[in-house]
Symmetry: C2
Subunit: 357 residues, 2 copies
Amino acid sequence: MNTRKPTLAVVGATGAVGSVMLQILSQRQDVWGEIRLVASARSAGKVLQVRGEDVVVQELTAEVFDGVDVAMFDVPDEVSAQWAPVAVERGAVAVDNSGAFRMDPEVPLVVPEVNPAQVRNRPKGIISNPNCTTLTMMDALGALHAGWGLKELVVASYQAASGAGQPGVDRLYDELEVVAGHREVGQHTGDVRASVADKLGDDSPFPAPLALNVVPWAGSLKDGGWSSEELKVRNESRKILGIPDLKVSATCVRVPVVTTHSLAVHAVFEKPLTVDAARQALIEAPSVVVLDDPEAGEWPTPADVVGTDPTWVGRLRQALDFPNTIDLFVCGDNLRKGAALNTAQIAELVAAELTAG
Amino acid sequence: MNTRKPTLAVVGATGAVGSVMLQILSQRQDVWGEIRLVASARSAGKVLQVRGEDVVVQELTAEVFDGVDVAMFDVPDEVSAQWAPVAVERGAVAVDNSGAFRMDPEVPLVVPEVNPAQVRNRPKGIISNPNCTTLTMMDALGALHAGWGLKELVVASYQAASGAGQPGVDRLYDELEVVAGHREVGQHTGDVRASVADKLGDDSPFPAPLALNVVPWAGSLKDGGWSSEELKVRNESRKILGIPDLKVSATCVRVPVVTTHSLAVHAVFEKPLTVDAARQALIEAPSVVVLDDPEAGEWPTPADVVGTDPTWVGRLRQALDFPNTIDLFVCGDNLRKGAALNTAQIAELVAAELTAG
């Protein structure tokens, strides 16, 4: 048994997910030796806190990965595409939270509660972390799939601003300040758009105003009018759950919530299931909390879920007109389980393997 | 031909829907003689403007319906249940926007673009106006059903605060003022709930904070954990479209939008259809506008739709994994087409009948 604790690099330490990662690394069991913080040249030299200690952010270079065992990437696709292989060349295992490698057949896409064994199946030395919207429902659906065989999914999302990073969070707060206190705004066509554009300009991470609005678009345009986000939900769910012919239709919509994605899920199974049996399976599932007592006003909402680790499930209903079908509402913190937490869990699986080795 | 213009009573003239009704009555072709405004004793004596004239609000009594040809009701279920039959006894046709009579087999449930002939099938003298959430999609689905035969619907809603009336609108604005300018609120568990409760108390028309949140509940609890709103979407869609065995699963969610409901709709048809043919049918449908060019950033959002009459449809996609299936996103002003406008249209159908008679 190797007793040296492995070295971790956090690339993208200064972003919205990176900030949450530093909190998470300070809260979880301490499996890491050195934690190296890495960011673009612009952010290099900043001092951040992790595990109660000041750490100076280093610039992203090939050399920064020397001696690193696991390198986490929370950066845009193109940065991961370029730098994750560099980290691997320098001897690290890369755990990547971008979309660059997720659908690569030689890169596993891992949710530790669902398909942990896939972590070892990494011929490129890279492990991908799923998209935050997909991750919101994977722990719950993994548990139900194990019992009844998932066949079809119809999903509508209620996605938080922080899914677009810190600029998304800032924009939502900025827009709220513009509209708050003006009780006519939101009641007439174009009001919100005009007042927001007047005060803040059109340079937004969102393609329409988000305050007092919902925006049925996330990501980029793909064939057939689908958004990249909607195709990620379909393709990543198939890969994580190991159901290549899973039928999926998703509609991804941004809502004026800071953090925590919610999903309305219509899930059809191979085998007959009751809502009581489904509830029991979810109660027993790791990292899932069932909050489902409408009579007492209990179901998950983003305001109550943000900052927590589990997947929260409520509004469990037996579909009235569809056989073997459950309708449910799921919330998960998109910066934690949807990003930083799942990445940290994957990295810990690799750390355990290295330490055991 | 009767040349006297019929007399209209607007019961609930001072509410959120009533206020929009007065605007609509001032904008539409003038089919009415006298317009009598009626409300509870508390609001009687108020002076409101309709068609550019001051009208004094009268108290709701049996006598107020004397000489009235059509009486519209925009009041709670129990008020309609009591007073619509009184209006009928006094000789009026009642057009009711509450839930009191919608599922009564002797009361037609009418969307003028979909089932206008049902207006004459009113043995009780009462015609019901559908629930605002159902109405958001009826014009679009009616057009698609006519062409391809609707078989199944999976719906997730993004419902505006004004669906809960003026108290809902006021509460949302109040909550926005509390959270705006506090850039930490929304990032930690319970923050929004605590700050809103601290400043505004818990006496809200919504069962959870709505600012910076989404709330997966609307209406009252029914069997199997379904909300009354979700069952309305199912049962009213079946009745309006004349498809008694239509399969429906709906999840109804309140979002921090002032006015305009949105729906993500997964619609399965009997016959094969292409997205292009569906788009053409929607373009040709009365009162439907197709806004569907994601490359140009065009799809409907509540901020752009509020204050307009049509149903707006975008994000038309051929389902990738489901045969004969279209996914779409629909927006409609819940106070206009979702309530006052559809009621006004029904009343105008009755007026035309009375005038022709």
